[in-house]
Subunit: 282 residues, 4 copies
């Protein structure tokens, strides 16, 4: 997990043979160092096929997910462990380097009240088991705080750090996302400062999840802070312009936030890359 990559939602949200065959060469044509694959359904994934394509295009990969409701770690830690082990196995089979995302719960999980000790205890148990499984597979394992509407459990870098220390595993990393930070953190940099000891991955996502450079995210502050803490992890551009209905509710996507795929790739991508170069992050 290093260099500049992209979330594959730009090309597909269904990681089957067709999705992989369309995405990996396309990402390579934009000079990406890695891709992030959304593991919504491991059953559709042909791991050997993906692995071959990744090798053919000299492309690295990271997988990500949110847990389905029947396996939310806060209430069903054993279900979560089973789901995560399956996803970790598939991640390893594809030759990807890490599994991350909302690995501790659901995208859209909200009880309506503050998180309880019991919820965190369950989550910690699931993460401990998953981290152990990841280590045995040679994988890194991440947790991504998301904004208050997508989850009541982990909203900030500080909370993610606290949870990692509660679990005590040495191979869980923090995965931040500028879109969520823009809502939750006190200043664009604060989540980075709080998460710094464990930060290995960051989603570069604009404030409306549209074209990077056209929203309210303060990219200079974000990149400057990453440079200042000596960040060496992966920078993954993420824009959501093409979402299937089954994830639209949790992500609350009702209108196109960018005019086109081309607007993101031709304006947003050079913007993010130029600025990452300015701060010598890539």
């Amino acid at each position: 997990m290093e260099g500049f990559g992209v979330h594959t939602s730009m090309w597909t949200m269904h990681w089957d043979r067709d999705g992989a065959a369309r995405t990996i060469p396309a990402a390579a044509s934009y000079g990406m160092d890695f891709i992030e694959i959304a593991l919504l359904n491991t059953a559709t994934v042909d791991a050997a096929h993906t692995r071959a394509l990744l090798e053919q295009h000299d492309m690295r990969a990271v997988c990500s997910l949110g847990l389905p409701q029947e396996s939310w770690a806060s209430v069903n830690p054993d279900g979560a462990i089973g789901h995560l082990k399956d996803a970790l196995d598939k991640t390893a089979e594809m030759g990807a380097e890490a599994l991350s995302g909302v690995t501790y719960g659901g995208i859209g999980e909200r009880t309506g009240v503050s998180p309880t000790d019991a919820e965190y205890d369950n989550i910690a148990r699931a993460l401990e088991a998953a981290a152990k499984h990841a280590k045995a597979r040679g994988l890194a394992f991440g947790i991504e705080p998301v904004n208050r509407y997508e989850n009541h459990l982990l909203n900030t870098g500080w909370q993610a750090k606290w949870l990692i220390e509660k679990v005590g595993a040495d191979n869980i990393f923090i995965h931040l996302d500028t879109y969520h930070m823009n809502i939750e953190e006190k200043g664009a940099a604060n989540g980075i400062l709080d998460a710094r000891d464990h930060l290995r991955y960051i989603h570069l996502s604009e404030s409306d999840r549209g074209t990077p450079g056209e929203g309210t995210c303060d990219w200079d502050e974000i990149y400057a802070t990453l440079a200042a803490i000596g960040f060496k992890g992966g920078l993954a551009m993420e824009s959501f312009i093409n979402m299937p209905p089954e994830v639209a509710y949790g992500l609350a996507i009702w209108r196109p936030v960018a005019p086109s795929f081309e607007a993101v790739m031709d304006k947003g991508l050079p913007f993010l890359r130029n600025k990452a170069q300015q701060y010598r992050l890539i």
Copy 2:
């Protein structure tokens, strides 16, 4: 609706005699030009009592609300009309100047898919009737776009302008909120630019709804654009540090976003006021 005010959630979310008696003198002691009263339950309001206190403290007022689920305008326009008429009557009885907020739907209303023509037709019918009722009472009537998670219906200034033009009433105004704009608009100023013809009220709320000046909102850009369009409406500070459970789910409030009431009033309030003076908005 002009000058610098504050949402009364800083003191109470229950507008009964106790809440009013605690809030109005307190707001006056901070030199507020007006207060915004959340009309969650008109039955608890003693309008004559509030009117007397407002007059006593030379304080102006605006009321705001979101519709309860049984009266969402998108599916039950007649229910919405009844609810809004009741709230407008109470607003007038209290001597307040306007009713605004999520007057077109629920805080937390989400179908999971994009808004439909049928939903907007129902909403337009409800707003038309409410605007007419407001005019008869001498009240202004506003609609507040909120972020994608709080509502799938109106998320941007552009959408609010479109809806007002669809309704065709001449006394509906747009009520923006910097917290929602920070998530939805392409740049801090864009919602203001789109809404300018109808903009008469704005919530000054930090990116995390905590202490103004400590988040990611670009206050210079916001105030500069307000000054540039010649904004003459109300500036209302809003921080949510004290929410009852019945609204916490929709607003997704799980943790204290400011350390204390004092932090908001002693740091956030002078910050917002000084900057508003710098741009000659107050």
Copy 3:
């Protein structure tokens, strides 16, 4: 003066036949709407040659200058008038639309004390005569406030407005420059707000005069305010990467502020143009 243009210092600071022949086709190849020609020495200008090239490439032009020390308007208004009339004549002969810049004094003019009434009276007399001459030639005539180090006379948009009102001519416009505004104005937008009634031209110049998008200028705030005031004038990119010694002292250019011409044109130009499009300024 409308659309998106570029200062010709990107190609030459000597506007002779060679400079013009190199610059005009180059600017056209980047799709510029207009160029700004530095009239450092009218004697070297072949006006008919420039006019033919401009027509051939369907390119519009604006001229700019600073007064030479022997003709500073503050102390030698008649000398300034003579210099400006000559420059206006050449501007008209070339088929350019306006003369602007530090038309009221020298780049580097500083007495060491605050401007005096006598200095401003002299300047007002020179500007009045020049504006009259410009009107007779069908030209617009501008004044550009510059930072405190380049001039003690006009540093802010407010001062420029004051001076125009003192002169009383109806064809003097204000020409702002984001580089100078970044030093002198209270917020990126303030000079625009103060100058709005007379603002027809703006230099888009980064905080270090290097590659636009890589400095401290707040481009969203600048463009948003321009959009909000309904700005219809010319947007001229200006980067100083190639300055002859005779202007280096006044401009204080000691080191390359951009790595190359290509960095400015391939990174800075798309950055400025994309953002101008986002705010519908071009």
Copy 4:
């Protein structure tokens, strides 16, 4: 040099008995951790008197200066050494902790061309001798890059780092200034990133040297980067609202950049302090 301090220009630019007696209690009344004393003329300083006042008010101090033209290090290194030794002796006698500022040249020194190797060699010789003298007195010794107009020699954090490494002394620190950084650095954070290994002191000065919080400096980005590099040095507020004629030319101060002393102390100071606390820098 740690904590939050203020440049004494807020009270006096003449450090004699009167100036000291007026300033030290005043700074103490604002809760400052230290003051910065401008050593424009060591002859007027009563060191024992200052030392007693500092001890009485439990106040720490730093001294700063620019070299007079007859002692510019670039052309007269021996003169510079003499001047610096005298200033260092006075600094030590007052009980101050460091001497810093434009210790390598003049405020306003400009040859009109890029710095030469010969100039830097002379400067390095002077700094080496001064640093040795400072070490013998138990003092830290700093160099402050300033903007291109105030000096052609050191404009950026990168250049300051380069010069320190050229000198090779281990007790020279970098002293940055946000006002100069705003003009010279590629982003508010870049000078901090380049200077980080030697950075021990920073002037917090607004973009127009007026009221902090009312200009174009990006304070979140500045403080966030300081927090991210683990900055432990002194934060010194600097506003120039009260300058004697002998320094006005070099600093190019022609108009009041803040309405009053009170505006800076009552608005600017709380703004800077609140934000420094937000980033846990004080």
